[in-house]
Symmetry: C2
Subunit: 399 residues, 2 copies
């Protein structure tokens, strides 16, 4: 191939976090604790098969055309109804079906921000979110989380200072309020309200990534941030954790002006109407609440197994908050531990995880790591934690 | 809702052509000649139903997970084999499955160009292409087409002048070489070779949008531009016209460096693996060549009907090139006709088309229009053309 003199990277690629690109492409291990893959045994395979056949039978020509049939209206109606559980009262015009939640973050980031703008995020936070915001050209600034989620008081301080010093007010704050990825924390009610107030007062938006909200182990859910600031929040959720991620179907709820921009940016047009019509048929036919109860039972049991195994095998050497839902545990080791180095050892024992540095801006090392308890059964989780503990104690004792 | 002080449009939205946003959302008519919707009676509905059932049965848990199963490798293998018919000899690493061709244009535009860059296009050209390039922030410059496609001699002159005057060489040229949308023309072999030469000589890329290549009414296809400049061309094609558009599945062929960037920008992750696995199963089971022959017979017959109707009803009042494939006829009326005004009249007779100005940069009026012969049967086409001719003669006679 000849030299490619014009292949200079456009500026949008500079300093982009590409951790997520490795998704599914990493080294194979027998006990995968790295990525938040849903448990495949919970996928409604037979129901999905029936739903596809029915949908094609009932409305094949429409559901294969660019514009789709009535399934899209039905799926939007389902989203509207389900969202009421989060105190979200949205109209059809406020809902956009997206090809996965990640696309939602990308659309929101590009609809709201441009080079020169600032966006504030949690530390740690989801690497896909970091990347989407970086690709929109915005600069990132991170604020810590504690056991109650984002430290909103620190955000308020920074906003006051920015206003006083004529500094930058963020275009938006990206936040995962429920069972944060990777932290596992849930944002307290008080902080939700406070953040909504700040958004109005300082004139910024909030991108509320609520991918895990259904997977709630306590039976008690808080109202969404959206419910306190419907014209300030872009709310994202997804079928990935409650039906299956391979279908790529999620949604965005926002006020019309934002949705109009998101649609312009959505270069795949409508999200596969074949998929939308199939899911709408599936939702009509299945007992969704029963299905979610099954998911919760599965993930809660795996979480319990992982928590117990860590207590047994690590003793007091590692700290973490027990999550009230979701897929992840976030471990903090003594500061002399570099979890990237630990991962190299883990691969040799055919187990993996994601080192903490992937979830921070510009961090090269970290003594944190994220474990996903979603895709392995209890026995594998026990074996995986045992292996990680062996690695850890060997590392610690050799230092 | 409160006032939204921060809702200033990011610069990327300024001057964006949003014609395509109306796709499927326009006014309903009984004879739709506006959009290039494939004939729904050609959709392989029963085969797709069987393919989904088989695929879910054979590899349900894998095909619903983020990463998918073996179907993706199979679909890429099919694309590799099929591309040889266009003299494209690509490896697996050069192929990316996308969620529709339009996503491919968007990814290519953002992978290659950034604000301040120039991109050159055909005049007229596909409005979705214009929009994707505008959203990447590039400035557009257009070059006319004639009966042989893009006037490559004018492109060469402009390149020479740009080099001499220290002007801007385009980052890429966006072109539809086969049965151009909307022009219906095919780029001649000589011009394909010349354009490839120029790309090497002046150091730019070519985005070759080949959505209609399979729908060839003559039995004679030219080699792709890609075949003359594999490391200078991003080649795009799609399942939308040969299986169904509602599934949203297409592909990009390019050298690795470009593909790497496209993957970073592809915010929906892998294109729905559920869809990919289903299509790969469909392609395995169906007689694809026979299916394409059926499509060609259908579209060629509709094209013939439209050409005949125009000759009959418009006499010599309108000029056009008879297309050798694809979905479209591009009509040129006397210059005193404004086709946007004509469209208002057409809606009243329940027929539509796309006025020519949608396919040019910054044009407000045009005496051209695009007709799609793809989605209506011969009888409807006859009635539609009859109505348009009535409108035209009334307009002409009243001027």
């Amino acid at each position: 191939m000849s030299q490619t003199g014009t292949s200079v990277f456009p500026k949008r690629f500079v300093h982009v976090n590409t951790v997520g690109s490795a998704l599914g492409g990493g080294r194979k291990v027998s006990i995968p604790l790295a990525y938040g893959y849903p448990a495949p045994e919970t996928f409604p395979i037979a129901e999905l098969s029936e739903a596809t056949v029915s949908a094609l039978q009932e409305s094949g020509p429409e559901m294969l055309q660019y514009s789709g049939g009535s399934g899209q209206q039905k799926i939007v109606e389902w989203i509207r109804n389900r969202s009421r559980l989060r105190s979200i009262y949205a109209e059809e015009k406020n809902i956009l079906v997206t090809s996965g939640s990640n696309q939602g973050i990308d659309l929101a980031a590009r609809a709201l921000a441009e080079p020169g703008d600032e966006v504030w995020v949690e530390a740690p936070t989801y690497f896909g979110g970091i990347r989407a915001i970086q690709l929109a050209g915005a600069s990132l600034r991170a604020f810590p989380i504690d056991s109650q989620g984002l430290c909103v008081d620190l955000v308020e301080e920074a906003l006051m200072k920015a206003k006083k010093d004529n500094g930058k007010i963020p275009k938006f704050i990206y936040i995962l309020p429920n069972y944060q990825n990777p932290g596992g924390t849930a944002l307290s009610l008080e902080r939700r309200k406070k953040l909504a107030e700040l958004a109005y007062h300082y004139n910024f938006y909030i991108v509320e990534d609520d991918a895990y909200v259904e997977l709630n182990f306590t039976g008690h859910t808080l109202p969404s941030i959206y419910s306190f600031a419907p014209d300030r929040v872009i709310y994202l959720s997804t079928f990935s954790k409650i039906v299956a991620p391979g279908i790529r179907c999620a949604w965005m709820i926002a006020y019309e002006e934002i949705l109009k921009r998101a649609k312009i940016l959505k270069s795949d047009g409508l999200t596969s109407v074949f998929v939308q019509e199939t899911i709408s048929c599936l939702l009509e036919k299945m007992n969704f609440d029963k299905h979610v109860q099954k998911l919760i039972a599965c993930y809660c049991s795996r979480k319990d197994a992982m928590v117990q195994a860590i207590h047994n095998d690590f003793q007091d050497e590692v700290s973490f908050n027990e999550p009230a839902g979701g897929f992840f545990l976030w471990l903090t080791f003594p500061s002399f531990i570099d979890t990237s180095y630990m991962l190299e050892k883990a691969y040799k024992k055919s187990v993996n995880f994601i080192p903490g540095n992937a979830f921070f801006l510009n961090k090269t090392t970290s003594s944190h790591l994220r474990l996903a308890f979603s895709s392995c059964d209890e026995e594998s989780i026990n074996r995986g934690i045992e292996r990680l503990a062996e690695i850890y104690f060997k590392m610690r004792n050799s230092l």
